[in-house]
């Protein structure tokens, strides 16, 4: 075990059985934690082809290896399952305070199986876990659920919960903590709802040990001073991510009216949003503090929400967009998907592809009241909202032609409001992203900074073209950025302090290796971290291939290939299919995948060998045996052997 390692709890909601174990070191060495180990367990435990909203889905809450520690911006955790929105892997990363508190309570990871017969929540405190009834919280949205739990359990808890949209299995329902922090992508909230799991509540007093406290404190101080000097960090701390709105809009790459246009109003610029900010807030142990407390009773908006519920819906009024932001957060809806499928439906209506019979009302861009009512209807699955609650799968109601206007990849609506027809690396990035169209798997946009060749050589290994509109070298960028973000997701570190996210500087694998060593005592070289990242991306590919993903799915929305951008400086740009295919092939080569996008046989064999490691090896109990064990209630006193040879009770005590 490494210093600060916490438990893995396996919870079967169908049987009420709970088992505790620890992830074996040989798996930690290969997958680190967070997203990496989540993928390992998903691959191992998920049977291909299962209905994501059935009890067969596997839901995993996995903290990063550094989550909750003194490493800067280390408050993050990944929530992973098969996505009910896309049908492939679903994986969402969330900040706030929940993940850190889970580790402070002694848990690194929860694997949640089955389905409770009635609403429940999980309560974790200092190595113990209980399944508790949640009938009294069912039916409430995100804010009220958390307020009631705090009232009932005390204010020193942290909660990850779903709103009514999750209960109703809206396919783009989030898991939320606080007023704004969302594990937004892929419908992880719907998976919770399908399992009758309203919330996970954590209270951590026992805390985390660290390997080298003095070294870690010194490193933290040095890194903090370095980060605070960064202009990117300073600007994020002042105005938050809305700073990117102006950048994209001025460039002429703002998804507007379902990408029929690519520029929108200046009323959503960061300076306008700032007028509604009471204060900037941070997540756990964050030195950036990019989250607004807004004057309208919520937190945010971030750039994606601002632009997708604003520009993409044609709504220019700043206050109205912030109101919509607060609404989706309280309902527990992913703003990216919501802000993509509503404009999609509006365009379909305007084109006559869907009519009044289906919509029940006229649809138009720029109508705040309409968008607000549709959001509420989606959360409650009413009328047209019930169809839109199916997210991209609503195409089955809207007809085959409707797919031509859907801005999604692999069934996941695009998250970043950036119209990627101009920046070709960005286009490739959303096409290869393992969870579908998403920017937080790579966001390879450093080329737009026009960096000197010696700088890009240092980052990418060879100089890259700084012409964002060519197809040259873009595969190298996507490859590099994907690998980098896997590591931050494995460690539980925020991407905003990560090398290559909007900056050629900030923290890189060398920094991460130092933080890991000082926190855990484990030694990884930057090269080993890179190899881990590659392994995890290969594993994600294999998970997706099991669900039917092929090269044909690594593509872009039809509009990005066929329609030229109509407005401003980017006018006339679109993606060339042949050039895109060449770029994708080069990317596959870098990944050592064949031209169908299949990882090498060597890698496949390695992953299969790792998959054979017994889930509860340290406890001496196999997965099958675990499933077969009938526990008598939650207070089972079964003894299990730990790595250190001690016997541990189910309550976490040492016998």
């Amino acid at each position: 075990m490494f210093t600060s390692q916490g438990k893995l709890a396996i919870v079967n909601l169908s049987s009420g059985e709970v088992q505790f174990t620890y992830t074996p070191q040989k798996l930690v060495d290969k997958y680190l934690g967070g997203r990496g180990l989540n993928m390992y367990y998903l691959h191992k435990l998920l049977k291909p082809g299962v209905d994501p909203l059935s009890p067969d889905n596997v839901l995993i809450f996995g903290a990063g290896m550094l989550t909750g520690t003194l490493a800067p911006n280390s408050g993050r955790i990944n929530i992973t399952a098969k996505s009910p929105e896309s049908g492939i892997l679903g994986d969402a990363n969330i900040g706030g305070f929940f993940g850190a508190e889970m580790r402070l309570a002694g848990f690194d990871r929860l694997i949640i199986l089955g389905k409770a017969s009635s609403p429940v929540y999980l309560y974790l405190e200092d190595g113990t876990l209980e399944i508790r009834p949640a009938d009294q919280y069912w039916g409430y949205n995100v804010n009220d659920t958390q307020k009631r739990l705090r009232h009932d359990l005390g204010e020193d808890i942290q909660t990850a919960c779903i709103g009514r949209s999750g209960e109703k299995m809206v396919r783009m329902a989030c898991v939320m903590t606080g007023l704004k922090n969302a594990a937004g992508r892929g419908g992880m909230g719907a998976v919770m709802g399908s399992k009758n799991l309203k919330a996970v509540v954590v209270r951590g007093n026992q805390g985390l040990q660290v390997h080298d406290a003095a070294g870690l404190y010194k490193t933290r101080q040095e890194l903090q001073q370095y980060l605070l000097k960064s202009k990117v960090c300073q600007t994020l701390g002042k105005v938050g991510t809305p700073l990117l709105y102006e950048n994209s809009n001025n460039l002429g790459a703002m998804r507007t009216n379902n990408s029929q246009h690519n520029s929108f109003a200046e009323s959503l610029n960061a300076g306008e949003v700032e007028k509604f900010a009471e204060k900037m807030l941070s997540c756990y142990n964050c030195v950036v503090h990019c989250r607004h407390r807004n004057k309208l009773g919520g937190e945010g908006p971030d750039y994606s929400t601002l632009a997708l519920l604003g520009a993409n819906c044609g709504i220019a009024d700043t206050a109205q967009v912030i109101e919509l932001n607060n609404l989706v957060n309280d309902l527990g809806l992913d703003s990216s998907s919501t802000g993509t499928v509503i404009p999609w439906a509006i365009e379909l209506y305007e084109r006559g592809i869907i009519g009044d019979k289906l919509t029940g009302q006229p649809l138009e861009f720029g109508n705040f009241e309409l968008v607000k009512s549709l959001i509420l209807d989606i959360a409650e699955r009413r009328g047209l909202g019930n169809l839109l609650a199916e997210s991209s799968q609503a195409a089955r109601f809207f007809g085959e032609e409707s797919k031509d206007y859907l801005i999604a990849v692999k069934g996941l609506p695009q998250s970043d409001p950036h119209d990627v027809r101009y920046i070709k690396s960005f286009a490739l990035g959303i096409a290869t992203s393992s969870r579908g169209a998403d920017h937080l798997r790579s966001r390879p946009t450093l080329d737009i900074l026009g960096l000197p060749a010696e700088v890009t050589k240092k980052i990418y290994g060879s100089p890259i073209s700084t012409d964002v509109t060519t197809y040259e070298d873009k595969e190298k960028m996507v490859y590099y950025h994907e690998n980098m973000y896997v590591i931050t997701d494995c460690l539980g570190i925020c991407k905003f302090i990560c090398h290559s996210f909007n900056s050629p500087n900030l923290l890189n694998d060398e920094h991460f290796a130092t933080l890991v060593k000082e926190t855990t005592g484990l030694k990884f070289t930057p090269a080993e971290l890179k190899e881990i990242a590659k392994r995890i991306i290969d594993l994600e590919r294999i998970i997706n291939m099991r669900e039917g993903v092929t090269r044909a799915d690594d593509t872009l929305p039809k509009r990005y290939f066929d329609d030229e951008m109509p407005d401003g400086k980017t006018r006339g740009h679109k993606i060339d299919r042949q050039e895109f295919a060449k770029m994708l092939s080069l990317y596959y080569q870098l990944r050592n995948w064949d031209q169908d996008g299949k990882p090498s046989t060597v890698r496949t064999a390695e992953l299969e060998e790792l998959a054979a490691v017994e889930l509860a090896e340290t406890a001496g109990v196999s997965v099958k045996e675990l499933a077969a064990i009938e526990l008598e209630g939650m207070a089972s006193a079964k003894l299990k052997k730990r790595n250190d040879g001690k016997l541990e009770t189910a309550e976490g005590g040492v016998a």
Binding site: G204, G207, L208, L281, C283, N285
Partner: protein
């Protein structure tokens, strides 16, 4: 006489970095609830409030401590000898500012002593990324 660390609640972003580093210093592990400075955060009530000892001239905590684990130095810093603390929480109840904190694991009180004896000064002040915690006389 010793003056307490100044808290600017308006500047506090609620990151808890101060609590993390304090608990690491005081307990050897990261336990932000068992720190000399504990940040009370309630997003629903819009609160980010670091709470720490004001180094009272006539400290109630010292007055009520039955074991003599709390004492006041000549220069006015209230310090805790953890080895004598039995976790009776009399000081926690007596402090009018809620600035005595419980360490439920070690069953002992935790409080800010301005990193007494350290030549580097209080670590919470050093680590605060927004200068919400400052030394007396600093902005």
């Amino acid at each position: 006489m010793a003056k307490p660390i100044k808290v600017n609640v308006e500047k506090c972003i609620g990151c808890k970095s101060c609590s993390l580093v304090c608990s690491l210093t005081k307990t050897g592990s990261i336990r932000p609830k068992a720190a000399g400075v504990v940040v009370h955060i309630d997003q629903f009530k819009k609160e980010e409030k670091p709470i720490l000892c004001r180094q009272c001239k006539k400290p109630k905590c010292v007055e009520v401590c039955p074991t003599g684990s709390l004492t006041q130095t000549e220069d006015g810093v209230v310090i805790l000898d953890k080895s004598k603390c039995t976790g009776c929480w009399a000081c926690v109840d007596a402090c009018p500012f809620g600035a005595m904190h419980r360490d439920p694991i070690d069953k002992a009180a935790v409080k800010c002593d301005l990193c007494y004896g350290s030549s580097d000064g209080p670590r919470c002040v050093s680590i605060c990324p927004v200068q919400a915690l400052t030394l007396p006389g600093e902005a």
